[in-house]
């Protein structure tokens, strides 16, 4: 029997599913893990370890950041800089300076003078993180995916499990049917032992002085990404990896180019263009 639990953490709705007779202990542990990681990884909590690191720029970090920061650095190298953990100041400059629940849809903040720079240096010396002056880390997407991976591993100790962390979906132990929103007709993907993540400009967007802004920053410009891609959904081994790949494909700027890149990398992907076209790539058909 599939049991379900829903709660709010990490600035989004989390849903846990587990196919077992006794779900409570695993569900409690998984929920506790999300809440624990939020206290460490949120950029919106002034006392989180990430916020303290961003203020200090050089700091010895705990095991979570010591694992996640190298993942983010590696992701930047792997995506040729499209995924960038140092977009923090650019995201804040674009108006995403508080949790999305608190962000007004219409902001009267003065328009930015210039986009904030990205691609700052980040180094790990043992468990000490060093951030270049003038930069700060935003681990938002990859942190949520990573937390979903960990929570799913906990749930899986009780039986086949699925975690949906605001769209970052991880499923193990059986084939889980997951919907992918597409304008013409939604697609359902059967997911087993892997993860799905979606990057896009259809949600988490706002208007700042009459200009539409969204949360996906192009590190090349330091501003919200432009282009004809509406959303990219990617399947990968883990949700953290899917988050990185979805962002990288979204930042290709063109739906057809994103599909070609997904094919070349054999990354299963559903790409939706702003005109409503849906492209299946990377072996999906």
């Amino acid at each position: 029997m599939i049991h379900r639990r829903r709660f709010h953490a990490m600035g989004t709705e989390i849903e846990l599913f587990v196919d077992t007779r006794a779900p409570d202990v695993a569900m409690d542990e998984a929920e506790r893990e999300f809440r624990r990681l939020e206290q460490i990884l949120s950029r919106f909590l002034p006392d989180s370890e990430l916020s303290r690191l961003n203020r200090a720029r050089v700091m010895q970090v705990g095991p979570e950041l010591a694992e996640l920061v190298p993942l983010a650095i590696e992701a930047r190298t792997r995506t040729n800089g499209r995924f960038d953990p140092t977009v923090h100041n650019a995201v804040v400059s674009a108006g995403y300076d508080r949790t999305f629940e608190l962000l007004p849809e219409q902001s009267s903040r003065p328009a930015r003078v210039a986009p904030a720079p990205c691609s700052g240096d980040v180094e790990m010396n043992g468990d000490v993180v060093v951030i270049e002056e003038g930069f700060a880390l935003d681990l938002g997407g990859i942190a949520k995916g990573w937390a979903a991976d960990r929570a799913c591993a906990i749930l899986a100790s009780a039986g086949p499990a699925l975690v949906d962390a605001g769209g970052d979906v991880v499923g193990v132990g059986r084939t889980w049917p997951i919907g992918v929103p597409v304008p013409a007709q939604d697609i359902t993907l059967g997911l087993r032992d892997g993860a799905l993540a979606t990057s896009g400009r259809d949600r988490r967007r706002w208007t700042c002085n009459g200009r539409e802004a969204h949360h996906v920053i192009d590190p090349a410009t330091g501003a919200p990404a432009d282009g004809d891609v509406l959303t990219v959904t990617v399947a990968a081994r883990t949700a953290a990896e899917a988050e990185v790949l979805a962002t990288a494909l979204f930042l290709s700027g063109e739906a057809e180019r994103a599909a070609r890149e997904a094919d070349a990398q054999a990354v299963p992907a559903v790409i939706v263009a702003r005109d409503g076209r849906a492209l299946l790539a990377g072996g999906l058909a």
């Binding site: 591993a153 899986a156 084939t175 889980w176 049917p177 929103p181 359902t188 059967g190 032992d193 949600r203």
Partner: protein, 89 residues
């Protein structure tokens, strides 16, 4: 004679009092607080042990998953009603 009987009584009562005191002292009634404290720390240790075991299980599960899961997950288009939906996160 009377005095001898009285002395015997006094001796017997003294002996009884001595053994009662001995038994009382041997029971260490004053160590109850320390035992309670020790039980509390034992409980804390048990909780910590449980937590460490859970963490170890988690690390083992994550390690096993990263080794056993192929580089690409099994994913295909299916004709089933979705349980949940991925969306921009």
């Amino acid at each position: 004679m009377t005095s001898q009987v009285a002395r015997l009584y006094v001796f017997a009562i003294s002996l009884l009092v001595f053994f009662v005191l001995w038994a009382t002292i041997a029971a260490h009634p004053w160590t109850r607080t320390a035992t309670t404290r020790s039980s509390a720390s034992s409980r804390n240790l048990a909780v910590l042990e449980q937590r460490l075991r859970a963490d170890a299980e988690l690390i083992k599960a994550l390690g096993a998953r990263s080794k056993s899961t192929p580089s690409a997950p099994v994913v295909r288009v299916v004709a089933l009603p979705p349980l949940t939906t991925t969306r921009t996160s």
